[in-house]
Amino acid sequence: MSIPVSVITGFLGSGKTTLLSRLLRHPELSETAVVINEFGEVGLDHLLVEASEDSIVELGTGCLCCTIRDDLAMTLGDLLARRDRGEIPQFRRVVIETSGLADPAPILHVLMADAALAERLSLDTVITTVDAVNGLGTLDEHVEAVKQAAVADTLLITKCDLAAAEAARLEARLRTLNPAAEIHSVAHGDLAPERLFSRTAYSIGSRPVEVGRWLEEERRHDATGHAHDVNRHDDRIRAFCLERNEPVSAVAFSLFLETLAEHCGPDLLRVKGIVEIAENPGRPAVVHGVQHVFHPPEWLDDWPGQDRKTRFVFITRDIPEQWVATLLELLDDEARETSARLARRGPTKRQEKLRER
């Protein structure tokens, strides 16, 4: 069984480290390995079992803390190796805190695409902190903050006790930016761990009931009617849902993902979808991608509900919704036409010989 990995991200000063400091004191995290930037930032001195120059320390609660090295993959690999050798406790969860200026996508890519890590670790959820006091301005000025919010499964509005009115405006903006994320208000990092770490947002194959909610688009940016400000980074971000009544051919589905990755990889902030593949009726494929990196499709035994339409939810930057829809339509039509033409032509002589064998 793979170990779930949660990523905590958020802009500088958004309360990320405060949240982590509070979480580390919870006994519920006693079997967790936390990968952080610096021990000193989190104020762990009074919790340390013993001072150590080692990059991994054990806290009084039993939680492990590890500083991140230059290479996240190496850091995680080392953590697992030391666990296997019995040098550190058998942690059951990993939490990674990113730096405040980090683009979370490369971190997610490591967890999704590194073959060695994927055997042992699975990306669980992305939690982003956004500061109620400065959050609106931060989103205006820093594209990293917008990207951090766009890829989140859970958005935590922090410092709500200091700016209640701004928190409400911030929540409305975040809902437009990322309609499917859960949003919670937090003061002083006070939040029960089970509200963050039990979601298995990325492991939906075993929880088909979650798929419907997981794909839910609560609001569409264009419906808000507010004026677009070209200076706001998140006005270039669009969240939209693409639906289809007809199944998609397997070839078209593959070409669709390839074409999206080829032409707009960095701008494809996040994609989620449940797809009826023509060649595999009644067993939809669930897809999930961050930029050009996609999880392998998971196949459900059945549709999670009455609605059996293929649908994708996109969070994108500068990608027209109509372009995505037209692309899928053209690719599927071409694939079907090619299949029909080959069927009319019949097997080639070589194919007939292979069949005879």
Binding site: L117, A261, H263, V293, R341
Partner: protein, 112 residues
């Protein structure tokens, strides 16, 4: 739009959106519906013609040619067309012609 039912509007939508995705300043005009043909202008000047071609029993294909002319005058084709069997190839060819330095990405299917 299918290879058996060409639709110049869908071709225009696809290429207009592509210019936005590629961050190129340009526009797409329909030229003819049979065969479906569009003209791509970059910064107002004609740049490429893209058409769908079906001749006899041969498989249909997409043709991409260089266009020449002025912003307001007549437009003609100035080079032999490059042919592509399907939409992905056509998009790649159009992009390469309009933005030779552009680098496309690559889909990565993770392992977990």
């Amino acid at each position: 739009m299918t290879l058996a039912e060409p639709d110049v509007d869908a071709l225009q939508r696809l290429l207009e959106g592509s210019l936005v995705v590629w961050r190129l300043n340009g526009g797409v005009e329909p030229i003819t519906t049979e065969p479906p043909t569009v003209l791509i202008r970059i910064a107002g000047d004609p740049s490429l013609c893209v058409t769908w071609r079906k001749e006899g029993d041969l498989p249909a294909c997409w043709e991409v040619s260089r266009a020449e002319g002025s912003a307001s005058g007549s437009v003609g084709v100035s080079s032999l067309p490059r042919r592509y069997a399907a939409v992905p190839g056509m998009l790649r060819g159009v992009r390469a012609a309009l933005d030779p330095d552009a680098r496309g990405g690559r889909l990565v299917i993770g392992v977990g």
